[in-house]
Symmetry: C2
């Protein structure tokens, strides 16, 4: 089954557009986990088990593992996800971008080593830096387009031939790079008008939409701007607001229960505006 | 000592602008190394020992290690370089690019875990995706500008406000991002005219110039286009032509001796046009 089909099935089965981002910051872990050698795995596993029925995808952020020499724990998490929740796609957030021979290695990292269903990539180096990922025909390739951070405008909003660079990216991917239907785009929730522009350019292509939750994107505006005619088409990502919900936890909740509550609330808030 | 100072000292001490790229492709290793569990380390160590007096920098490409679960061997290589050749800077070729909180993790990966003197980064997400690296005041941050691959033109050559995107990147880095003198740029050798344009924009900023050697860039045109008034200012990278010189080896040469000969030849070819 391809990434796109798996994602579409998860949207339906879990009635959810919520992507749970796994950005494990050990400084924010509950005290009982912090000293375990497998603290990152244990934390992520608890979050996964608590939120899997509310999610359409999980998105581990590789930087958090790389900084701590914890690639083995990322492997274990991907393995756990594949075996325990095979119907939920795993998007490895790596944002790689390099020339062809090197991109082949990064594709092996994402798809062979971690077994991810999809990977995020950077478009700055152009098509031949993306093509090696597309050789993995059942996997997804999600290209950065319009990002949710303040500096995103530095290059993405430069105007070339009457339209901003991010729209050129959307058009390149939709018209040239997506020959086999494997592509998606990253478009931040902090710019609903631009999300709507991208949706017009790319038809039903799946969009990974970070920026809801801790980054402050508005759920209603995001969903209305990015939804497809069938009320889907997006993985709306929330990481920190779910992972570290515990400081605002209700009485009796541990971190996983708090994460579950916030995930369910976010899923429901999204669903309220899908149709 | 800062990265920039260390690089300038290495230019002088080794009378070289050659950066030796470490892209260890195990399929191309000599037979006697291939089955060793530390094959990657052993191969890179032999290349390093054979070329260190001809190089101004070493540039390990992290993708080759990540694909093979060999981060431990990359750590060992960086450690070996730091202890054995402390005067030669190590540029970790990672081309990371992500929002601030994640970029902090990638900076730790490059500078703390691997102890690199500098790291390559991608500008697509803008200044706040680069700023966390600049917090490491003695390290260098080398921003992708104009890349040597065919697809490089897809975005980098879009014209915005009368000039191509890659020149916007050069100008942003020179005028805004480089507040503490830590920045460099990646500019491919396959486009000497554009290299000259970038040199005019950025003054004496160091340029990492891939594309000489296997990628076919012309050494004379590259050096004349990119040199500073003092005949330096560049790390001209060659990877495959040096690492895998053996198939064209002269009688009696092993892979390391062949690598040394090609490195010396490349250094000398560069030096012929520096002044």
């Amino acid at each position: 089954m391809t990434f796109i089909d798996k994602l579409a099935a998860a949207w339906t089965a879990n009635h959810s557009l919520l992507c749970v981002g796994l950005d494990p910051d050990t400084a924010k872990f509950p005290a009982q986990l912090r000293d375990r050698p497998d603290a990152i795995f244990a934390f992520c596993k608890a979050i996964i088990d608590a939120t899997a029925d509310a999610a359409c995808a999980f998105k581990p952020q590789i930087a958090y593992f790389a900084a701590l020499r914890a690639e083995d724990q990322l492997e274990a998490i991907c393995d756990y996800l594949r075996k325990t929740y095979p119907a939920i796609p795993v998007v490895l957030d790596a944002k790689r971008g390099d020339i062809g021979a090197t991109a082949e290695q990064y594709a092996r990292e994402a798809f062979e080593r971690y077994g991810a269903d999809a990977v995020t990539v950077n478009p700055y180096m152009g098509f031949d830096s993306v093509a090696p990922y597309l050789e993995w025909k059942d996997r997804g390739v999600i290209v950065l387009c319009r990002t949710s951070n303040p500096g995103g405008s530095d290059l993405q909003f430069l105007s070339a031939d009457g339209k901003p660079v991010y729209q050129h990216v959307a058009q390149l991917v939709a018209e040239k790079w997506n020959t086999s239907g494997q592509c998606g785009l990253v478009v931040g929730a902090t710019f609903p008008n631009e999300l709507a522009q991208v949706r017009r350019i790319v038809g039903d292509m799946p969009l990974l939409v970070p920026g809801v939750g801790a980054q402050g994107g508005d759920v209603e505006a995001t969903v209305k701007a990015g939804r497809t005619a069938s009320g889907a088409g997006m993985m709306i990502n929330s990481s920190r607001a779910i992972l570290y919900a515990k400081p605002d936890a209700q009485a009796g909740e541990d971190f996983a229960a708090a994460a579950r509550r916030v995930a369910m609330e976010t899923r429901d808030a999204i669903n309220a505006f899908r149709f």
